[in-house]
Symmetry: C2
Subunit: 249 residues, 2 copies
């Protein structure tokens, strides 16, 4: 338990948590022990069913998943994404039930997240910050759907995902993977896939970004930052904006 592996060898998921709150060697070791119990869920399969009992928190190690609600008539709304380093099932009521279905978009690797030994520990802080960020992503999504145009929704969403992937070291300042079909993007942004297609062409023609082949390339990052409303998400005074800024992997 004394091994302190070099940070740059860590899983992206652990890098993210470590960035939220610098972890102790023991905590990193516990997380890495957890990765031994990892299991995979292949693309398009359900990671968790709506209303099912939640056994304990899990950590996403690899791949993209999403929380989704499906309506009786088949309409679908994606509520949010789960990216490497994100936690699923963090809550503290007894006998919790999943509030949404979770679906794997790509193949996803998950592992049990260690229970923080003590309240106030670094790991507990990282979990709390992760939870606060999650709430923030939901709030931002509400603002996006309620008040932004299709064009604005798209660029705001891209900016958010960029920021989030950067936290796990999975984005460069100008590019990141984005393995979604236009239909999934449509169910995220509250649009139709046809309209998403046209909106994507528009941002491309404007020279703002290029979304293609499962990858986003930001061709004008400065302009993007200017167009997007929110400054980097801030949920605790002890977490500097610096830590959350997008920088090279």
């Amino acid at each position: 338990m004394n091994a302190e592996p070099a940070l740059h060898h860590l899983e992206p998921a652990i890098r993210r948590l470590n960035k939220l709150a610098p972890l102790t060697g023991e905590e990193i070791a516990a997380l890495q022990a957890g990765t031994g119990l990892a299991h995979r869920v292949s693309a398009h399969r359900e990671v968790m069913a709506d209303g099912e009992p939640v056994t304990g928190p899990s950590l996403v190690l690899k791949g993209w998943a999403c929380r989704v609600r499906i309506f009786r008539d088949g309409r679908r709304q994606i509520l949010g994404f789960l990216l490497p380093g994100d936690l699923i099932g963090l809550c503290d009521q007894p006998e919790p039930l999943a509030s949404t279905m979770v679906t794997a978009i790509t193949e996803v690797t998950l592992c049990p997240a260690p229970h923080p030994v003590e309240k106030g520990s670094r790991l507990a802080t990282a979990y709390a910050l992760s939870r606060a960020l999650d709430e923030n992503y939901l709030l931002r999504h509400i603002g996006r759907l309620g008040r932004l145009s299709a064009y604005e929704r798209l660029i705001d969403w891209v900016a958010e995902i960029h920021e989030r992937l950067a936290l796990a070291g999975l984005a460069t300042p100008a590019s990141f993977p984005m393995p979604l079909t236009q239909e999934i993007l449509a169910d995220t942004l509250g649009l139709t896939s046809v309209h998403v297609n046209r909106t994507l062409q528009m941002v491309r023609r404007q020279g703002l970004m290029d979304v293609r082949n499962g990858r986003v390339t930001l061709t004008d990052p400065a302009n993007l930052r200017r167009l997007v409303e929110s400054r980097p998400t801030r949920v605790s005074a002890s977490l500097s904006t610096q830590d959350l800024a997008v920088s090279a992997a």
Copy 2:
């Protein structure tokens, strides 16, 4: 601290928490002690500013408040409502910062929420359930904004508020107070106030409900339940659906 006041004399706010998890006499007494420190915020004033440090959790005793985001160009999106019995500022990261502005819609009475003595106590459970319900309201709002028509958004939202007020004993099976202008409703549902007005006329003409003078009257509750997607919110196996069902005050 041994006084166990009759439940029907309790504040609506305490009734709600007690419904989420039957509280001990000590816990009820602690909550009532907190009400002695209540303070008021008059209508239209800010309860909490975005980005401000959060000192500790507060309990809404009376009145309506909302969490809101305002965009640079003045567009506004209401993210959710805070009703009697709801908690503000429940989170466990160190030095938390408010993630949204909170505004009083009517005059609001707030008091500090006692810190749960021990993990796993009834009060801690009530807080955890309240937090889980809050998340659910955000998720439901996302589904509403992303995939429902104006008509559907309105009735789904009314059904949610009805369910929530009933939890605090503030709604009858067919009616409840709703002190919002059509403009606020518009900023909630992602519409314009003109369109909200027309949609309200539509539900009225259909005989579904009447929204008028700061009060909603459900003229066809059975049909409303049929039209609305979600069953009563369920976030824990230990909290029966029965407890959350709408019944007479």
